[in-house]
């Protein structure tokens, strides 16, 4: 379908497709099996300028937004949702700096994230604080010009390999949810180490690590926005990043369907290709319809968000204020509800599509020789991370209730 893409958007798809087809596809099985980090592929993303597609040109990016990021992430995930992930995790580390960073922090961190010289990561989860981030136990105590961080964060995607980590710790435990703050921590900072590496069902080409902080001194200059605004930083980031997960999910779904359609046209049973049977035909049709519906929701939401966000980013650059403050000045609306809808719809679609694809391919679909089972394993995480889909539904309904109440209904 023609979504009226700009030249840049079309080129992003083309560049990502070439990397996916020529570089990622031949090594997909290798990285899934070995759980190694795909550095040669990350190098391709870097050389192709993909890490900066959503960042302003002022920082060396391509001047796009969430839509551009989504297009790249979708196309790469169509071949492998695990190898594509460094693009997503790096954006999850960059977006909070773009939105809540001071002009100095933006200039210090964003150029190297835009070029891919450094990889970003983001970690809010703790063993006791998953969906309930207010239960954060890691602490950050101000001492002179530093904060001293202690505690354990877990399930950090691109862990150990990324260079810059946006992490959350409580600067004032007594204040609970309003005592949590966000910091940028650089790899190599004394007292910052990596604990357990998780063994996962899917996205195995991306390492998931525990982050361990032991009297780790982080300069106060690395505090994002203000003390106590951590959950605000997280929510503002998720508003813009969740469509990316929708894009990853759609890419995974499309990749599974591409393989399944080709197989169903070739595989003969009862003397005819299985694609000619109505039972298979209807499943193929439902899969394609779900994907296209998800894509329409993703693209229209991402485009609308970017149209509203870009003036705020421009104002922030011009007046040298945080983007978040510029958004308040311009009364830029929040996208919590819509971005949650994109994430829920696309990830649920991906799980259904990939499960049905395995079913359509039958026995061979279940085997590791054939890539469809991998798409199914990779799809599952998209319903879980960056806020489980149940939490997304809570957010959608709570925004609906708030909106109705504000209209006096």
């Amino acid at each position: 379908m023609d979504y009226g893409l700009t030249d840049l958007q079309k080129e992003i798809i083309d560049v990502a497709r070439q990397i996916a087809q020529k570089k990622m596809k031949p090594v997909r099985e290798h990285y899934d099996q070995t759980e190694e980090f795909p550095w040669p592929i990350v190098e391709e993303f870097r050389k192709a300028d993909l890490f900066g597609v959503y960042l302003p040109e002022e920082f060396g990016g391509m001047g796009g937004g969430c839509f551009e990021l989504a297009l790249a992430f979708e196309e790469l995930s169509r071949v492998c949702g695990g190898m594509s992930l460094p693009l997503g995790t790096s954006s999850l580390g960059s977006i909070p700096i773009l939105l809540f960073g001071s002009p100095e922090q933006r200039e210090r961190f964003l150029p190297e994230l835009a070029s891919g010289k450094k990889l970003g990561a983001f970690n809010i989860t703790e063993p006791e604080a998953g969906s309930d981030a207010t239960a954060t136990k890691a602490t950050a105590v101000r001492e002179g010009d530093d904060y001293v961080l202690n505690g354990i964060k877990n399930f950090c995607s691109s862990g150990k390999e990324a260079d810059l980590y946006v992490v959350f710790a409580s600067t004032s435990p007594a204040r609970g949810a309003r005592g949590i703050s966000a910091f940028v921590v650089e790899k190599g900072t004394p007292g910052f180490g990596f604990g357990k590496k998780e063994q996962k069902m899917g996205i195995r080409a991306n390492p998931t690590y525990e982050l361990v902080f032991k009297d780790c001194r982080v300069p106060a200059a690395n505090l994002l926005y203000k003390e106590g605004y951590g959950l605000f930083v997280a929510q503002g980031t998720f508003d813009l990043s969740r469509p990316g997960i929708g894009a990853q999910a759609l890419g995974i779904a499309q990749g599974a369907l591409d393989e399944t359609l080709a197989y169903a046209r070739m595989r003969k049973q009862f003397g005819a290709p299985i694609a000619s049977f109505q039972a298979i035909g209807h499943m193929l049709a439902d899969c394609a319809t779900l994907i296209e519906a998800g894509r329409a929701l993703l693209y229209s939401t991402a485009r609308a968000m970017d149209m509203e966000m870009k003036p705020a980013v421009q104002l922030a650059l011009k007046e040298r204020i945080p983007v978040h403050d510029a958004m308040r000045k311009l009364k830029t609306r929040r996208w919590t509800k819509e971005s949650a809808m994109v994430k829920v719809f696309c990830s649920d679609a991906a799980m259904k599509v990939t499960t049905d694809c395995v079913q359509m391919c039958g026995g061979i679909g279940y085997m590791r020789d054939f890539p469809v089972e991998k798409f199914m394993r990779d799809a599952k995480i998209t319903q879980i991370y960056e806020g489980a889909n149940q939490i997304q539904r809570n957010e959608i309904s709570s925004m609906m209730i708030k909106e109705a109440a504000s209209k006096g209904q």
Binding site: D7, E11, I12, D14, E44, K47, A48, V53
Partner: protein, 266 residues
């Protein structure tokens, strides 16, 4: 060392591997087109030579339909500095002799020649597959040429030393500059384009030259060129093969050997 003056000749060809030929021998015309795959290696090697010797310049040339501008833009996106498209109705129907003649005229017009000048081409195209255009360009210019280059070992203003794969081994040859080289796909792994490269290539100017710009002799080009395609027929589709049974590789190999003996092929 002086900087190099590099040229790469490319062609836009059908990117599909299944090209339909109708009963009259005409090729299906609405095919997706792209840079000839073997030319990607020539472009990459040109870029590597350019990066190897500071201050070097590179230009891409193509003879083709107006749409061949896209193939030239693809080379600009990868880092080639400038591009010229040779495009004229008078060029239609030309063979490799005419193509090489026109490319040699364009190279003369671009001032090619002298120390440090090298022209690269792919080994052959995936449509015509003659593999003759590179050596014929050299013949028109009176330069040395070498085909099937799999490695460039040394380069200077005066000469270029290359390895060439031949049936019973490897030849190492040194050619005096200027020279024409056609390269094989063993020579490198072509890079992929960057977004910044592609966006800049969209805005870049591609020069377009016709017969009069080149001062080409009309009796040597287009339908006047010596070769014409008499007939083109599609490759007959293969009948289905036979799967050799066996549960282990060893068993399959044993069954295959028996089958080949049965057919008196072993």
């Amino acid at each position: 060392m002086m900087s190099l003056q590099l040229f790469v000749c490319v062609k836009q060809t059908p990117s599909s591997t299944s090209v339909a030929v109708d009963s009259t021998g005409r090729i299906q015309t609405d095919l997706p087109m792209a840079l000839n795959p073997l030319d990607e290696y020539a472009v990459e090697e040109t870029l590597r030579l350019k990066e190897r010797v500071a201050g070097s310049k590179s230009a891409a040339l193509s003879l083709g339909a107006p749409s061949a501008e896209e193939a030239l833009r693809a080379t600009l996106a990868l880092g080639i500095d400038s591009a010229v498209l040779l495009c004229d109705d008078a060029f239609k129907g030309g063979d490799s002799f005419a193509t090489a003649y026109l490319l040699s005229m364009a190279l003369r017009k671009l001032g090619a020649g002298g120390p440090g000048c090298f022209v690269l081409t792919g080994k052959q195209t995936n449509d015509g597959e003659s593999g003759q255009v590179g050596p014929q360009i050299a013949a028109w210019l009176g330069w040395p040429s070498v085909t099937s280059v799999r490695k460039i070992t040394e380069v200077s203003d005066a000469s270029i030393t290359v390895e060439r794969a031949v049936e019973d081994g490897i030849e190492t040859l040194t050619l005096a500059a200027p020279a024409v080289l056609s390269v094989t796909k063993e020579i490198n792994e072509p890079r992929l384009p960057s977004l910044k490269g592609k966006m800049a290539a969209k805005r870049a100017a591609v020069a377009k030259w016709g017969a009069s710009d080149l001062g080409a002799d009309a009796s040597l080009i287009g339908l006047s060129s010596p070769c014409a395609v008499a007939k083109l027929s599609p490759v007959p589709s293969r009948a289905g093969g036979e799967a050799v049974p066996g549960s282990t590789p060893e068993e399959k190999a044993k069954n295959l050997a028996e089958k080949l003996k049965e057919l008196k092929l072993l």
